[in-house]
């Protein structure tokens, strides 16, 4: 086994492999190059983790999903055909699917996730701080339908271009635009306390 005590140190330094494309690195890994796995982990792991964290709003679950998605990447490596799609597109799709699985399993007993009722004794300033602490955006995101949440996270937090989001979600660019627009409107309504305006149509 390789020494894994400081896993990403090498790739933050002057590793020549850090310049290689994801495609090339995946190929190198499939051929038995351990250093390629380090670069890929440093490059793609944070993307996976960030999306999973925003989709699930739960760190432990996001960590498990990230590990699972990366495991699938390692196993898929020998079958990868370079140049057909971006490795990151494939990985985002796998991550989102795993997140949806987790959310589906959780849904029957989601009582734990309902935000606590606000304390009437808090001053307006305190309440603002409280909302910031709880991450108002996360609270609002968790109320969006899955597809809207995915599109909004990929567009506005991961800052991916619409065609790439379309590739990840397996839909047209127009559908991505529609999902993000509806998602944003819903978020604005949730944050302004106007949930009654929400249309929970998904698609």
């Amino acid at each position: 086994m390789e020494d894994l005590t400081s896993p990403l140190q090498d790739v933050r330094g002057t590793d020549c492999a850090a310049d290689a494309s994801d495609d090339a690195l995946l190929l190198q890994f499939a051929e038995g190059d351990a250093a390629a796995a380090r670069v890929l982990t440093a490059r793609l792991g944070p993307k996976c983790f960030s999306v999973a964290q925003r989709m699930l709003g739960n760190r432990a679950e996001a960590e498990d999903v990230t590990q699972d998605a990366m495991m699938r990447l390692w196993q898929m490596a020998p079958k990868w055909v370079p140049g057909q799609a971006k490795v990151s597109t494939w990985l985002y799709r796998v991550t989102l699917n795993l997140c949806v699985d987790v959310l589906r399993k959780k849904r029957p007993d989601r009582l734990d996730d309902v935000p606590e009722p606000e304390d009437e004794d808090l001053s307006a300033a305190d309440r603002l701080q409280e909302a910031a602490r709880k991450d108002a955006l996360q609270m609002a995101l968790s109320q969006l339908p899955d597809r809207q949440r995915q599109a909004v996270i990929l567009r506005h937090i991961e800052e991916l271009p619409n065609p790439e989001i379309a590739g990840i979600m397996g839909i047209s660019t127009e559908a991505v635009e529609s999902l993000t627009a509806r998602g944003k409107r819903a978020l604005v309504a949730i944050l302004a306390g106007r949930q009654d305006e929400l249309g929970y149509d998904d698609g």
Binding site: M1, E2, L4, T5, P7, L8, F29, A30, G32, A34, A37, R38, T41, A42, G45, P46, F49, S50, Q53, R54, E63, T66, Q67, M70, M71, W74, Q75, A77, P78, A136, L137, H156, I157, E159, K184, L187, V188, L191, A192
Partner: protein, 122 residues
């Protein structure tokens, strides 16, 4: 303040929240990176493991009958069989006379052939 201005303000607030979320994107926790790389290493080493060498047909047949040790006994038994066939001990009946208890001349006569040449030869 009219409805449109309110909406614009809400949009700005949302954009600010997105900007905050972008700047606060989490790093990959070190322990998670270790878990991921351990998985990668396990997959990599599994793949590098040489496949079991292909065994020859003879080696597999030999395995089937119990290896080289049993082969010695098999060879001895076969050799004894060949020898008994070739030079049967006196106390054993000749299997040929049991199965075909005829004289060869009857056989040829049965075929309705001219057997005078046999007599000439004698």
């Amino acid at each position: 303040m009219n409805w449109g201005m309110m909406m614009a303000e809400d949009d700005m607030e949302l954009d600010q929240l997105f900007a905050q979320a972008r700047s606060a994107r989490p790093d990959l926790p070190d322990d998670l990176a270790v878990r991921i790389l351990t998985d990668a290493e396990t997959v990599r080493l599994d793949r590098l493991k040489p496949a079991a060498p292909e065994r020859s047909v003879w080696a597999r047949i030999l395995d089937g009958i119990g290896g080289w040790q049993s082969m010695g006994g098999l060879v001895a038994a076969s050799a004894a069989g060949v020898w008994i066939g070739f030079a049967a001990p006196d106390f054993l009946p000749d299997p040929a006379t049991i199965l075909y208890p005829q004289d060869t001349s009857f056989v040829v006569a049965d075929l309705g052939l001219d057997t005078t040449f046999l007599e000439d030869a004698e």
